[in-house]
Every structure is written in C-alpha cells, then in structure tokens.
C-alpha cells in the first residue's frame, strides 16, 4: 500500500501541485489538468506559461497548477488571454474553459479571439452541463438530456440544438488547429494528451490559434455512475460530437 502511494506521488508532474482536487468522483477535469501539466513539462515551458482560468468548476485550477495563473470574468477568458499574449508574446498563454464559459456567455470572445488568429491555446472541456451552479442546461447539452433547467429533457424545438463549437470555428482562416478528444478511456486519454501537446506546440511555433475540445464526464449532473458516464461518452456523446481532428495544418 505504502509503496503504491509513493509510486503515484513520484509521477506527479512538476507543473502540478501536490493537492487533492475538489472535483467529484468520476469527473474528467482532474485528468485534463494533469495532461496539461505533463505537456507543459515535456515542452519545458513551465517557467513561461501563463494560464487563464474560467468561471465554473475549473475556477480553482490555480490550486492545482504550479505556474502563473489568472482568473477571468465568466466567458471573458479569451479576451484576457489576448491582452496577456499581446503584451508578452514570448510567454505561452492558454485558456481552460468549460462549455458555459466558452459556448454560452463567452461565445463572442472565443469567436473573435479565434478569428484574430491569436497565438494562444484553448482547452475546452465539454461535459454538456453547468457543474458549478448545479447542473443546468449548457449550450452543448444533448437532445433529450435532463438537467436542472430541462426537467423533461432538452427539447430541440424549445431550447435549440447542441452547439458544435469546433465545427463553427473551423471556417475561420485565423484558426490553425482544432481537435476533439475525450478522457473516457486510457486510449482516449493518450490521444487527448497528443492533441494538447500539438496545440501547445502550435503556439510555441507561432502558428496561431488552436483549440482542443475534451469530452469529459460529469457523473454528478448526468445522474449516472462514473462507469455509466464513461459509456455515455463512448455512445451518444461521441456520436454527436465526433472525436477526431477537425482542422489541422
């Protein structure tokens, strides 16, 4: 037991703080946080990385990341990142945003940061629901999905369609690299890491805007067990949001 624990601690990335996260059991945020840290370490960019944390479940990311982090107002994350990157073009700047932050209240900011071709990295964690505020409908909530504000399931005629942000951004010439990944299986986690690394590399190489959408589990507000949540991504969620490269160079 003691040996096992030591082995886990030894593998904590340099860029990750040795802290217990506040995330619910089965949540994907912890995995994504770690992948970002592993990539930052592998690229050797920890001492020049500046992260912009969102409003939402991941607002406390600065308690887990061991590099410079600022908060941003809800959805304004890409605007804040724009200000930082323009002042410090030699730093590596990324935003970490949820679906409420990026696809609802911050829709204008993400579209225009992408369209300006800001040389930043965006990690977009899509779990199809507002977690921090108690499980309300997100723009990415699937048809029929029950949430705190769609009690009988999302009705497409009443609430509109789940937004595919990557496909929307793909038409913008300023956008260089877009990929959708997931963290519901070991294989997918590895693929997610490769995509996140390429996204950071895109910025390091001054190629322009890139964004990785990560399909992530929210057992608490999906009303499912962690295992059922994994199956849900494997099934209906990745059916609607296909995993794969949307745009590349």
């Amino acid at each position: 037991m003691a040996k096992e624990k030591k082995a886990i601690i030894e593998t904590i990335p340099r860029s990750m703080r040795d802290a217990e996260t506040h995330y619910c059991a089965g949540c994907g945020h912890g995995i994504v946080h770690r992948l970002v840290c592993e990539v930052v370490d592998e690229l050797g960019i920890r001492d020049k990385t500046i992260a912009v944390a969102p409003v939402g479940c991941a607002v406390l990311a600065y308690d887990y990341w061991d590099f410079d982090v600022t908060e941003a107002a809800h959805g304004r994350t890409p605007a804040v990142a724009t200000g930082i990157k323009r002042v410090r073009p030699n730093n590596i700047v990324f935003t970490y945003q949820g679906d409420g932050d990026l696809a609802a209240i911050g829709t204008a900011e993400i579209i225009h940061a992408a369209n300006r071709g800001e040389n930043i990295t965006v990690i977009f964690v899509n779990n199809g629901v507002y977690g921090m505020t108690g499980g309300q409908m997100a723009p990415t909530t699937l048809a029929g999905q029950k949430t705190a504000t769609t009690l009988s399931g999302r009705n497409l005629r009443r609430e509109g369609y789940p937004i595919k942000i990557l496909e929307m951004l793909a038409v913008l010439p300023g956008v260089k690299y877009l990929e959708r990944v997931s963290v519901h299986s070991a294989q997918d986690v590895l693929r997610a890491k490769r995509a996140i690394k390429k996204s950071f590399k895109t910025q390091v190489d001054n190629k322009g805007f890139s964004m990785i959408e990560v399909l992530s589990m929210c057992p608490t507000y999906w009303g499912l067990t962690p295992i059922q949540s994994v199956d849900r991504i494997k099934g209906e969620m990745s059916n609607y949001y296909p995993i794969g490269v949307v745009k590349s160079y």
């Binding site: 410079d68 982090v69 941003a72 304004r76 200000g83």
Partner: protein, 350 residues
C-alpha cells in the same frame, strides 16, 4: 520656458497623455463622441510599437485591458456612457484584483442610447461603484483639452501607485472641442515595481491573480484591505480648485466643462458686486469633502451646477453637513447650462 502650443481636440490630447505616460496597450470599441481617441490610439500605438486592438465588444475591450494589466503593461480603454456601462463588470474585477489601468468615459446624454451631446449623467456610476461589490475607482474630471492630457498622464501614475483602476470622466464637449495644447512639460512617470504581474514563474514561485475568495472570512479580509487602501487614497489624493471662497455669500460647485461656464458666471457676478465663489472638484472620488465643509462655515449658500438631474449635489450635501443651504441647477439629456442661466439662478438666490 513655455513650449510651443498646438491645436488639438480633447480626445486626441487624452490619447497623447496616455502615450506620454507610457501606455503601450489600448483596446476599444467605436462609440461617439469618443471615436477620435480610438482612432488616435490606432495610429500612435503602431508608431510606438505598442498594441492597439479594436475589440469585438466593450466587455472584450475592458477584459483585454485586464489581461494587459495582469501582464504588467500600462493599459487603457475608452468609451462613452452606454459603452462604459458595459465595461462595469470588468471594472469590478480589475478593482477586486487590484489591477492598475485607465478607463476614459467621454460622457454623452442618457439614459439608454440617449444622444451624442455632452452630459454628466454618469457621475453616480463613476464615483459610487458602477459594478457589483464594494470598490472604488479614482475619478479625475478634466475641464480643458490641456487637462485631458495632463489628467490622463496623472491617472496612469495614480493607478500604478495604488494598484487600482483610474477613470477619466470627460464629456462630449471636452472630447470634441479643439484648444491649444502645450505638449512639453515636466511630467514624470512614476516607476513602480510590479512583482505581482504574471510573466511566467521563472526564478520565482508562481503568481496568481484572482478575486474568488471562498475561505472562511477571506473575502471580508480582502475587502478590509481594499477599504484601507481607499482610505489612504481619500487622505492623500483629493484635488480641487477654489476661487473666492473666503468672502462669498454663495459658492458655485461644478466639475468638468461646466466648471468653466460656472467660473465665467462667477466673474460676471463679481463684476456686478455679488460675492460669488467657486469650488471645482478635480478628483470626484476621492471627493473634496473637507474643502466644502470648511467653505460651508464661511458662506450661506452653495449652488451646484451639473449637466445632470443632480448627482454630485448629493455629495456636496453630505460634505456640507447641513451647515449651509445647497441649491441645484442642472440641464439633462445633452442640455448645457449657460452663463446666463447660472447668473439668473445666482441672482435669484442672493
């Protein structure tokens, strides 16, 4: 040696004051009557190798300024009344995170879309908060084109000195009119160490900029720290001008462009033998409360003149503490009080 004067409009002078102060980042969104300022910064930021961004919205612009301030730059945004309303969320976050920056409001008539004529209807929004939570921004009210330049320069120093947003409260009259401006002058950029900025954590522990404080009592402690800072600013940074207040039966109180009309009315009244003085607050927050309270002991009446339904008049009443009568004359929705109108009111009161 008096320098050469050149003719400039207020909005351009404001932009030049920012450049002189070392502003290297500007983000803004088009709105009348401040468009010359955005255009001026578009030109000057390129010339000095700074950053100019025409943002997708007022909210994006203020949050770009947030990012630039986080990264340690002297940064500015500008707008006019409806646009400044949109920026209020960002201003609250800037104040909460103690980020220095300069915001310019070239006010227009309101409420709503209003019109593009000069007004002073944003006084409450500027000095009482504007956004959510207990915070203050330093508010400077220039009354000439030269002062738009000088006060913008000063605003950057004050913002850095106190790690706090500073706001220039002008109006469409000041922004649009042209006056001779002396560019040379003995202005000194206040150099302030900014160890809190995000530069990447090379050689130091990581920095975090945040306003979310969930720990037991943590937010109350942060608020107490902010209030202590605001008290220091109140004790140190009050700026005002006063004229003839030692022997006045009536003291006019006005700020910004209206203060000039009020001063002209005062001179006319004096020429007629009427004992009229003038207090012109330059900082609207912190407000020159002590100056007004002291003046209240020496005069019978105050007449507050504003381009609003009466907003600063409330602060004058609070300052005077009932020691003298406080009257008000104002015009709204782009109406400008004239010298004659003020004179008429003076004669009715004395």
């Amino acid at each position: 040696m008096a320098g050469k004067k050149i003719l400039m409009c207020g909005n351009d002078a404001c932009g030049e004051g920012a450049v002189m102060a070392g502003c290297t980042f500007y983000a803004g969104y088009p709105i009348t009557p401040q468009n010359e300022l955005t255009a001026y910064m578009a030109k000057r930021m390129v010339e000095i190798n700074g950053t100019f961004i025409q943002a997708e919205s007022e909210t994006a612009a203020i949050n770009m300024v947030f990012g630039a301030a986080v990264a340690g730059a002297r940064a500015m945004t500008s707008s006019s009344s409806p646009g400044v309303s949109l920026k209020q969320e960002g201003i609250s976050y800037l104040a909460a995170c103690e980020l220095p920056c300069v915001i310019v409001n070239i006010q227009r008539g309101g409420p709503g879309l209003g019109n593009i004529a000069p007004a002073q209807g944003d006084y409450f929004q500027s000095v009482k908060g504007g956004g959510h939570g207990d915070y203050k921004v330093i508010v400077l009210a220039p009354s000439s084109v030269q002062e738009l330049l000088e006060h913008t320069f000063t605003a950057f120093n004050l913002a850095d000195k106190y790690r706090n947003p500073a706001l220039i409260l002008g109006d469409g009259l000041l922004g649009q009119m042209m006056e001779p401006v002396e560019l040379e002058g003995r202005r000194q950029i206040l150099k302030v160490e900014k160890p809190w900025t995000l530069t990447g954590c090379k050689g130091r522990a990581p920095n975090v900029i945040k306003s979310l404080l969930l720990g037991d009592g943590a937010l109350e402690e942060h608020n107490k720290k902010l209030q202590a800072k605001y008290n220091t600013i109140k004790a140190t940074e009050v700026r005002a001008q006063s004229f003839n207040i030692a022997d006045s039966d009536l003291i006019l109180v006005a700020y910004g462009s209206v203060a000039r009309t009020a001063k002209a009315a005062m001179s006319k009244a004096r020429a007629k033998g009427l004992k009229v003085g003038l207090v012109r607050p330059i900082t609207l927050w912190p407000f020159p409360a002590k100056l007004l309270e002291e003046a209240a002991g020496r005069t019978k009446k105050f007449l507050v003149v504003e381009m609003s339904a009466g907003q600063m008049v409330e602060d004058v009443m609070l300052s005077v503490k009932g020691k003298a009568e406080v009257d008000f004359y104002g015009r709204m929705g782009g109406g400008i009080p004239t010298e004659e109108e003020i004179m008429e009111k003076i004669e009715a009161l004395i």
